[in-house]
């Protein structure tokens, strides 16, 4: 039994923290705030990470990556999310569009897209969810109809993060009249293709996170299919495995709980003892969430089935995200309503609460995770 991630992981963590300290301001709250300059910070930081070989730590060496272990990936995930994801929208390309292209792409697709993703030069969005296909993704109805040597795409996507700023989209559409998983096909599409319309959805999360995307008879050329026609479900399943554990939400929770003590230093002792006890319990919950995430990574590392441990971890750390958000608000009282650089913790507490509200929905609802866990528990006895 050993819970030390090892010297390599420790060195990587220290290196990432040095770079963050040198290039990211203490009050940085991510790329998608009301200040457009924050987006520039993210893009500059991605180039720095790329130059340092840290943007593609997890990628195999044959694609220009560092061939890092799953534990290296874990460290990157933790440090980036803890420091408000200074890679901005890039994580999607790095974490799963790139790996999907490695696994299923043609040589031409690999040559075109992988170097650009590795250099942090291109933003991708993911066209999965539809108005009538959310948790039930296999119900999607965006159509792809053969037209000459290419395809014509018609349909609507929703909740599409970064669609308004992305240059490329990886899109799930249905070929033929099949149902459920039949005919689902993945396409790689430039977002400036005629017939694509993006409509931002105003939300408490801030800019760029949620959009609707309309595809009106959009032309997709012959080289645009990723993998085989009709085999898109396999692409989705295989590629989502690269990001099974998901965002390391516990890392930001822990950083904020740590900072809370410093922020409140003179007033801390005057808080009700119940808040101190809740703070202590929150630290325990964060530790448990981290350990459950490590259990899922360990399963991945040893080739054991990782789906259920990943769902267990996701239930734990998405719930934890919301509990910590509420605890921080309890500690700060009415000041928690303030936003911006003058607010407590430079606005990070207010920012965290807003983001936490979507934690149990984004990338697979907590209900879907519970279905996966209970199915494994009850097996054929349901």
């Amino acid at each position: 039994m050993d819970f030390d991630l090892g010297d390599d992981a420790a060195r990587l963590r220290a290196r990432l923290r040095d770079l963050i300290a040198a290039h990211i301001a203490e009050d940085y709250l991510g790329a998608f705030t009301d200040d457009p300059a924050d987006l520039d910070v993210s893009q500059r930081f991605c180039r720095i990470l790329a130059e340092e070989g840290l943007l593609t730590v997890a990628w195999p060496t044959e694609y220009g990556g560092a061939g890092g272990s799953v534990w290296d990936q874990t460290v990157v995930r933790e440090e980036m999310w803890a420091h408000h994801e200074p890679r901005g929208a890039q994580y999607m390309g790095l974490n799963w569009v790139g790996p999907a292209i490695m696994a299923f792409g043609s040589e031409a697709q690999k040559a075109r897209h992988l170097p650009a993703i590795a250099a942090g030069e291109v933003i991708w969005c993911q066209g999965f969810s539809e108005p009538d296909a959310g948790s039930d993704l296999a119900a999607l109805s965006t159509r792809a109809v053969a037209d000459g040597d290419g395809w014509r795409l018609t349909g609507q996507k929703i909740w599409t993060s970064y669609a308004g700023m992305a240059q490329w989209c990886v899109l799930a559409a249905r070929v033929g009249n099949g149902t459920r998983h039949e005919g689902i096909t993945m396409f790689l599409l430039p977002m400036d293709t005629e017939g694509i319309t993006v409509r931002p959805i105003a939300s408490m999360l801030g800019h760029h996170h949620l959009n609707e995307v309309f595809f009106d008879d959009v032309w997709a050329g012959p080289g645009s299919v990723l993998g085989e026609v009709g085999e898109g479900w396999a692409v989705i399943r295989r590629t989502l495995a690269h990001e099974r554990v998901g965002i390391a939400r516990y890392a930001r929770c822990e950083r904020l709980l740590s900072a809370l003590g410093r922020e409140l230093a003179p007033e801390w002792d005057r808080l009700p003892p119940a808040v101190h006890a809740q703070w202590a319990r929150a630290l325990v919950e964060v530790r448990v969430a981290r350990l459950l995430a490590y259990r899922a990574v360990h399963a991945q590392d040893t080739g054991a089935p990782a789906d259920v441990p990943a769902s267990v971890a996701r239930i734990a750390f998405t719930s934890c995200d919301q509990h910590v958000a509420e605890l921080l608000f309890q500690a700060l009282g009415h000041e928690s309503l303030e936003a911006g650089p003058g607010a407590p913790l430079h606005g990070a507490v207010e920012d965290h609460w807003r983001y936490a509200q979507a934690a149990t929905v984004a990338s697979g609802t907590i209900e879907v995770q519970r279905m996966i866990v209970s199915k494994s528990l009850l097996g054929g006895r349901r």
Partner: protein, 316 residues
């Protein structure tokens, strides 16, 4: 990084399960018999434990022994074994059993089984205490006894206190894990509205949440052993964190399991009822969850808390 218990410890736990569920003890039936005939339980259980080699297991010896003791504790409480295995195993040189108590003297489970105890509050020092009067004999504390101080042993018992708190959390883990198994068995066979209860999503989701809670407690219990073996005597916040989490998780999971059993959840012919009753002393002694959380907050403020970022000291 390897979160698995050593194979030998897991194997020891499996052997313990076989002994605890064998005909002589009969699983939870041993607890039922002990309530009917309290005087018999000492001899009945002690022999089985001796055969298992518990007397020779010193959790302070090395990491493997610590892990084996933890696995043993987990298995003990899966059957609500009516014997203070944790206290006996923590004794030094087969002397007096050891327990953490809320105040000098104090109250311990199965206290009347031994003439003298070595006890300590959280702050110490260790003292000697003896049972006064018999056990409570109540449904929720059938074997809980009060102790009175009879002498001063002196010296700090810090490492023993930490070890004891960690290992009692391991047996609470056994309660939680068993409660989920019992619920799964019950909802899989109990048919209502023409189908097993397990076909209802409201039931499935409760089981999923209970499973996640127990899985988290298991990881934390393993992690805490690792902290204990790495820095004995310096893991106070870690063991308090484990204890508060064990209390929070196991109280909730027992409630879920009882609820999913319906009326059977409060009937002693069902294991869940006996398990729930017999777990109450460990859930309340030496302190409740709220008191433990307050102690944890103080320990973190004073000593910090391992993590990705620094905690404590500044707030305190």
């Amino acid at each position: 990084m390897n979160p698995e218990l050593p194979a030998a410890a897991a194997e020891f736990g499996a052997t313990a399960t076989r002994v605890f569920t064998a005909a002589a003890l009969g699983g939870v039936d041993a607890a039922r018999r002990a309530e009917a005939e309290p005087a018999e339980r000492g001899a009945q259980v002690a022999g089985a434990l001796r055969a298992l080699g518990v007397d020779d297991l010193d959790p302070r010896a090395d990491d493997e022994a610590l892990a084996a003791a933890a696995a043993l504790c987990e298995e003990r409480e899966r059957v609500a074994l009516p014997y203070p295995l944790d206290a006996v195993r923590d004794r030094v040189d087969r002397g007096r059993p050891f327990a953490v108590v809320p105040e000098a003297g104090g109250r311990v489970d199965h206290g009347e089984l031994f003439e003298e105890w070595r006890v300590s509050t959280l702050a110490g020092p260790a003292t000697v205490a003896a049972p006064k009067g018999g056990a409570l004999g109540s449904r929720l504390g059938p074997f809980v006894s009060d102790l009175a101080p009879v002498g001063d042993e002196g010296g700090s018992a810090r490492a023993e206190v930490d070890l004891h708190l960690a290992l009692t959390a391991w047996w609470l883990l056994g309660v939680g894990a068993r409660a989920v198994e019992l619920a799964v068995d019950h909802v899989s066979t109990r048919v209502q509205f023409g189908k097993p209860l397990s076909a209802f999503q409201a039931v499935q989701f409760q089981l999923a949440d209970a499973t996640v809670a127990v899985a988290g407690l298991r990881e934390l219990a393993g992690f805490t052993l690792w902290r204990l073996s790495g820095a004995p005597g310096q893991a106070r916040a870690d063991v308090l964190a484990l204890r508060v989490h064990a209390l929070d998780v196991v109280r909730a999971v027992l409630r879920t399991s009882q609820q999913l059993h319906g009326a059977a959840g409060v009937c002693d012919e069902y294991d869940i009822s006996v398990l729930t009753r017999h777990a109450q002393p460990a859930l309340r002694l030496p302190w409740s969850a709220e008191r433990t959380a307050a102690e944890l907050a103080a320990a973190i403020a004073a000593e910090g808390f391992e993590g990705l970022f620094p905690h404590g000291r500044a707030p305190g």
